[in-house]
Amino acid sequence: MQQHEIRRFVERYFTANGCTFLEANDNYMTIQLTAEMDKELMNRPFYWHYIERTGGVPQPMQLTLITRPNEQTNKLKGERLHFGAPRLHQLFRSAQKRGSFIRLYEEPESPLNGNAALHPWLGMNVVISYECDRKKDDLVSLGLHLISGTIIESFHERLRERRLTPKIPDYCFTISPLIKPRSGISRLEQYIRGRIAADDHTWADEARQRWADDLALLDEFYKDTEEKPECYYIEKEALEKQYKPRITVSIINGGLFYLMPRSS
């Protein structure tokens, strides 16, 4: 992640959460937090508890983040922001927590002649993690048409091309889904399982081979021991933890999207 990307991310994050920028230039920014963001990020529950108990006037903190250190920023009381910085990762976590669930409607681009029907879609962005003693992630964006059951990939890319709004636009109505959300999720999960099954799993075979090799060494080591000591079993279990291939599917975010039907 480049410094300018970090900067852009941070600006968008705080703007989206209603904070104001007291100062912002190429080198640093000072942000006036809202009470809500102060509670989210600054880790001072006792202060907030005290204010709420006593009915005092809350004073949310200001945060100075330095994206390009120079002589000027050295004098500031601020935090350096780079890809590994704990603060950035806190913002990542916060964004994921606050951006998990959504429901949006498509806004027609030109005025409509009469009413327009919006079709329900279930969208889901997922990470598929392939793990053994190594790890790889695959990000997949899926969309399920809750009427026909059609599933498309790169769904999020398509959403980006449309104008979306949290309220149902005038002269639009939604078609009720034939597929309920719960079974929609199951269908997508099923799709993901199929997708995984079709993948190349050389990585897992190789991991199993490494596992077998180490296990053979271990058995050899204790070959002459009639009753295996406890550490044999501990080590054996550790080898399983180290090498056994496993796949986890976690959902980044997702939601309901009511979209105008397109021919494409």
């Binding site: 780079h82 606050r98 951006g99 790889k136 995984i196 599917v249």
Partner: protein, 554 residues
């Protein structure tokens, strides 16, 4: 395909609940940001390192990166890191740990280090790697904190041991792992029973060890890699050192990485070494001779004459403490000889070494570190320098981490001189200083190396100047000329020395010196004994060179 797939269930339930309750829903912008964050956090490849991208402020040297890459890609996260001293094994271990944490393969890790280094590890992991490591202070820490640093001595004791065995550690890191070379010890047994999914053993001197010790170390990491004990003894029992058997060497190298200074393209700043010979005043000389005369006393067997002589060379204060102790222990009348020494102590009014140090410090006019072996000398020097308007910071072992850091800062920002006793040296970095005065010389070359290592290490950009003080016609001069100058100890790069000493198998060089210097009945005998020691060192050096050449040829 027979791979277990785990589906995230938490999102589903919460989503359905929100559908039910009609919200709350995120904004499109937050939704996009969440996805973007996930993109940045995802690991696109099995291979390669993610950690460097997370640590842009850290200067990672090429050999350190290569170590981390090999541990992850070729050694499956189980390795002995055995770089020569000063090449940054801690950085390498931190990199590997960070890499696994970024990949989500390590959540809980246990780091076992010598007690004196615990807080330093905690500090480095937090500041350099943003790894929230915690020092184990209370027993609940084992369970509640993910990355814990502790000394092995604490960890192996109940009730800690049993709690630790219950923890699902993903990674174990052990610093100074050469202490685990004996498989009969409690420490060995303790580590053997830890769950080691990923494991790093850090040690600086594994190769020279006896091969059974290598066997024990490797078997701890990867049991069976060198066969079982019986097979190993049969195959390699006659092998004296790992280097002499190519097959064994190749096998060991599969689990061990050792970078040598010479193999890295790092340019080390130079060391300038200057012996500084000092004349005693008449009073000091008389005192020294009075101490020397104690050799003929009837109680001579009960104390170390060499210690007294060395103290006499350091300061009358250091000597006084020991003499006073001896007098206190006397039952009945105080021996005349001791009274005599006391008189001579009182007669001394100046300290020639201190005068010389003062002169040198003034001419250097920059920050200086003085090392002394004696606490009393340290106090005296601080007082003496203060009399002459020079501010100094005393530093010794036993300071808590916070105090150590504070003293270090004090020296950096407010004082010209840093006066350290031996044990204080561990775990401090003083690269901002480049002048070292060895006020008195330790007789163990490794300790001298550690002293210099405080300033002459990675990160030192300027040449380093070392002044070795020795008083003429004393034990000090013998040590300085015979050992330190003839084998040009100071010009060697760090790390070469431990190889040589280990090859000599001279665990206790000091004892040889003491024997030669104190127990010799004549100058001639002493000379012969010292020459013998020299010859052994030279031999070891030649062996080392041969090994090196052969190594290069293969």
């Amino acid at each position: 395909m027979d791979i277990e797939i785990k589906m995230d269930e938490t999102w589903k339930e919460e989503f359905l609940e929100r559908v039910e309750k009609d919200g709350p829903w995120a904004s499109w912008e937050m939704y996009e940001l969440a996805l973007e964050a996930a993109h940045h956090l995802s690991v696109p490849e099995f291979n390669g390192l993610q950690a460097p991208k997370h640590l842009p402020h850290l200067t990672i040297l090429p050999h350190q990166l290569e170590v981390a890459r090999r541990v992850v890609e070729e050694m499956n996260g189980k390795a002995i890191l055995a770089d020569e001293v000063g090449l940054g094994k801690t950085i390498e271990a931190g990199l590997v740990l960070k890499e696994y944490m970024i990949r989500g393969l390590v959540k809980k890790a246990l780091i076992l280090v010598p007690a004196s280094l615990v807080s330093q590890w905690v500090k480095e992991l937090n500041e350099k790697f943003f790894i929230p490591a915690v020092q184990q202070k209370k027993s609940y820490v084992w369970e509640q904190c993910d990355i814990v640093v502790s000394s092995i001595d604490t960890a192996k004791k109940p009730p800690h041991r049993d709690i630790i065995y219950e923890q699902p550690y993903d990674m174990i890191i052990i610093d100074e792992a050469h202490k685990l070379k004996n498989n009969k010890t409690k420490n060995y047994e303790f580590v053997q029973n830890l769950k080691k999914k990923f494991c790093l053993l850090l040690t600086a001197t594994p190769i020279q060890n006896r091969i059974e010790e290598i066997f024990n170390l490797v078997s701890l990491l990867k049991p069976g890699h060198l066969g079982n004990a019986e097979q190993f003894a049969k195959t390699y029992g006659k092998t004296r050192a790992v280097q002499t058997n190519d097959h064994l060497k190749a096998l060991v190298n599969k689990v061990m990485i050792r970078n040598r200074r010479a193999d890295t393209p790092i340019e080390w700043s130079k060391r300038h070494v200057e012996p500084v010979l000092i004349e005693f005043t008449d009073e000091e000389r008389e005192l020294y001779e009075a101490v020397k005369a104690l050799r003929h006393e009837s109680f001579a067997g009960s104390f170390s004459l060499i210690t007294l002589l060395r103290e006499a060379c350091s300061s009358r204060e250091a000597l006084f403490l020991t003499i006073k102790n001896m007098i206190d222990k006397c039952e009945g009348a105080v021996p005349e000889a001791l009274e005599h020494v006391l008189e001579k102590i009182n007669a001394v009014t100046t300290n020639s070494k201190a005068e010389k140090a003062l002169e040198l410090i003034r001419s250097i006019n920059d920050k200086v570190i003085i090392f002394t072996e004696y606490r009393a000398t340290q106090l005296y020097l601080q007082w003496f320098l203060k009399q002459h308007g020079i501010s100094s910071v005393p530093f010794r072992g036993g300071f808590r981490r916070g105090k150590k850091d504070w003293m270090q800062e004090l020296f950096k920002n407010h004082a010209q001189v840093f006066i350290a006793t031996e044990a204080g040296g561990e775990g401090i970095n003083l690269q901002f200083c480049r002048y070292v005065i060895n006020y008195d010389l330790p007789w163990n070359p490794m300790r001298l190396e550690q002293r210099i290592g405080r300033v002459h290490r990675l990160g030192q950009t300027d040449d380093v100047h070392i002044y070795n003080f020795a008083v003429k016609q004393t034990v000090e001069e013998h040590i300085l000329t015979l050992l330190y100058e003839k084998i040009r100890l100071f010009e060697r790069v760090v790390g070469e020395l431990d190889d040589i000493l280990a090859k000599m198998n001279l665990a206790n060089l000091e004892h040889y010196f003491e024997d030669a210097l104190v127990h010799s009945r004549s100058e001639g005998e002493m000379k012969i004994k010292m020459e013998n020691i020299m010859a052994m060192i030279e031999l070891a050096e030649q062996l080392g060179k041969k090994g090196g050449e052969r190594h290069a040829a293969t």
